[in-house]
Subunit: 476 residues, 2 copies
């Protein structure tokens, strides 16, 4: 630069292009300069090992990752989740057994389980008749005679504690485009319920009624009606203010109106049928246990693709949050479960809260739930924040996804498809973590729900997955 | 201005503040000037008589108009529309008679009725057994033996042609805060239906089934359940993507789930009850005939307030659009019914369209429907436009209303209340006409629905009302 040009530079007003830390721009502005702030962060948070691993993966990949991801996205978009019916876990869930308890999230031992999951295990053992009292149940759980495995290892998902035992009724949802199935228990409602760690008589009596009345009646109505196309129903609820995770009033309504004409026709005492309809009407979360297996069988179809960096599982057990990648089948990458930032029910506060828990984040994994919050602005009354926040969350998720849904659309974003196909590379590079909205359980066993809110997953789970992926898929 | 100042003016760059016509600002900008465009129009479109009438009313009012309007708004906001039950028109609608046919909109003679209203009258006369064939019905309608009066003269409202005859079942909705009632027929569904002017056997058979099965079954379920708080339900549907006029999928769903547990318990053959539930499930507009009488009994409570310039009726008969003001009870102000700008069903075009018709604009009059379109972005797939248009329509309506609803909220506008209490003075002064979304009937009798869209009411109806209001309420 010549002296003249240099002098010219100092004579003219400063025009600043600021990258990164905003207060530099603020200082420049305070000094009278015009500045433009660019939202820029160091790739992978400046972590050298990660940046190098990603660089060498990019320059020297062992497989065509873009092609593998395109195949993963294709499978997710072509999925056709369909409610086939209701069965009993031991009859339909692969590998289910009397001495096996399935739980939410990545693997966890009894010793390491959080309060609400322990509470739900206690309730599950009493429900199965394997223990008579909570004390007996705790002793049995600690004895080594009961096996604990993730729902996700059995094509299943469970909300919150996600406890599934052998004799519980489960939804059977099939992805008819790929013939794979997913299973989930039926939703119990809010408040004192097993999935939030409560196990009082009220909770167990309801579970027994669900097995003796609710499940067979709904099952027979479904048989009379025929399978329900969940892709179509989820597409509709996104135009009706639901996002399929923590706002499900429209979805529950649509299921009721689909089944009611068939429920009436069944050969059960009408008091029993009426009680089923009243139960559904009183429980807006009923639909959650249908979006979950729908999402599960959707993303499961994209699992196990060689070289695919899409995230096909996110799940929490209340102790750890874990993910699995399509190209690294069977491997969990975990970090500590997060603390939920939320709204609390009267009488409760953050001091009462368990950490982030449940398989319901399978909805976000498939591109709805928190990823579709722009479709459900009224959800902020439940999880906190403003309607603009809800829109911003969805917009940010496009940055970590490889595509947009072809059927699930968000009216307010001009019917743009929901962000779909989370690429772990994008998460690590941008530092943008998947947004998750969730219920909050009490940290102690036996209490139940205390609130709902938003939570960030641990970044190291994604970084570890990225490193393992780079290690496997960088050419030697 | 001194010479020096004047020279200074011409030496410095032009800074233009432009009022009104935008191309002046565009020209200034093209010439290099900085300009700010202000959206400004001549008050009352520059109509001298109107401006003078409004000015003298403002400077010399005979009553406190602001106070009267505050009272009108208070009554609208405090309204508690509640579904009481179902009755037969002749038993419950004030002044109903066997030789009387009620119709939508302001008064209109058989000779001046549009095609779809004539079609519906023909169907109504055959339905009542007063004629056996369409030819007989037309002759009877023209004979002078049948009286035609607006639904609005009988505390009633009717969608599209709005034909109500003596033996039709009607919803009974009471504004429990003010003990006034409104009535409306039950919704028949879409396609070939009486309210769109169709009168084939299919249409008449359905009407007969509605009277023999649908109405008594729903009536008994309502008796078992007890009254339904429509204020609460409408508040909910606005958070579920409905606006209560042409998008009613959430509302219909909520009514189904409220009634289903009671429907199951009734002592009717279960096939009959199942058919009722199937009919409701197949007809998303079912809820419209509940929002309409809810809106009607809401604004009726604000009618007849001395000095109140709020609009308490808007209605169309397919020939004319008419309004009534609170402070001018009993007087209609009309103009030609508009041409709807909309989307057409396959096989139909604008050439097939009847003009704007129906009492359903009572929803807009009460502050929902088109006024709440921001809550229902998905409606644009039905009536045309973009989601941003839907938001803009609602925002514009705040400019002609005196308040915002205390219960009906729009999530995407940060839960702002819907624009409520249309002040005819504001409409005339700003030239902003109420936005109305509506179905489109075929122009010929006997065909039915051909599309849906948006329509502007005739400005002169509002101007004439304003002049009459100013005449009555300017101090002599």
């Amino acid at each position: 630069m010549s002296d003249k040009a240099l002098n010219g530079l100092f004579e003219s007003p400063l025009q600043v292009l600021n990258l990164g830390l905003e207060n530099f721009a603020e200082n420049a502005a305070a000094a009278g300069a015009t500045s433009v702030q660019v939202d820029w962060r160091l790739p992978a948070g400046g972590n050298r090992a990660l940046v190098e691993a990603m660089d060498t993966l990019t320059s020297n990949p062992a497989v065509d990752i873009e092609k593998a991801n395109a195949e993963g996205l294709r499978r997710i978009l072509e999925a056709k989740p369909t409610i086939l019916g209701i069965g009993t876990a031991i009859d339909v869930v692969p590998g289910m057994a009397k001495d096996l308890i399935l739980h939410a999230g990545p693997p966890v031992s009894w010793e390491n389980m959080c309060g609400p999951m322990r509470g739900a295990v206690i309730g599950g053992l009493i429900y199965e008749g394997l223990a008579r009292t909570p004390t007996e149940a705790e002793a049995l759980a600690a004895s080594g005679k009961i096996r604990f495995e993730p729902c996700h290892h059995h094509n299943a998902v469970g909300p919150m504690a996600g406890i599934m035992t052998a004799s519980m009724p489960v939804w059977i949802v099939e992805n008819t485009a790929f013939s794979n199935r997913a299973y989930c228990t039926l939703n119990e409602g809010l408040g004192k319920v097993l999935r939030y760690g409560a196990y009082s008589d009220e909770v167990l009596d309801r579970l027994r009624w669900m097995a003796s009345d609710l499940a067979p009646i709904l099952s027979d109505a479904l048989k009379a009606r025929g399978p329900i196309d969940m892709k179509n129903i989820i597409a509709q609820v996104l135009q009706m203010g639901d996002e399929g995770h923590n706002r499900n009033r429209a979805g529950t309504s649509l299921i009721i109106r689909e089944l009611a004409p068939y429920l009436v026709m069944l050969d059960y005492p009408k008091e029993q049928i009426s009680k089923v309809l009243s139960f559904l009407n009183a429980n807006d979360h009923f639909f959650l246990n249908l979006t979950m297996p729908s999402a599960k069988c959707t993303v499961d179809a994209a699992a196990g693709i060689e070289g695919c960096s899409l995230i096909t599982t996110m799940a929490r057990n209340g102790t750890e949050f874990g993910i699995r990648l399509s190209g690294l089948p069977g491997q969990w990458f975990t970090g500590p479960a997060g603390i939920v930032d939320g709204l609390y029910l009267p009488g409760f506060s953050a001091d009462d809260a368990a950490r982030d828990i449940g398989d319901s984040v399978i909805t976000e994994t498939s591109g709805i739930g928190g990823f579709a919050m722009a479709a459900a602005p009224a959800i902020v009354k439940f999880v906190g924040g403003s309607p603009q926040d809800a829109i911003d969350f969805t917009l940010r998720m496009y940055e970590i996804c490889v595509g947009e849904n072809n059927v699930y659309q968000i009216p307010i974003l001009d019917f743009r498809g929901t962000p779909t196909g989370i690429d772990v590379r994008k998460v690590v590079e941008t530092g943008i973590l998947p947004v998750i909205n969730t219920g909050i359980a009490h940290k102690n066993p036996g209490v139940g729900m205390v609130g709902a809110g938003l939570v960030k997953p641990p970044e190291n789970a994604f970084r570890d997955a990225m490193l393992a992926f780079a290690k496997k898929y960088t050419k030697e």
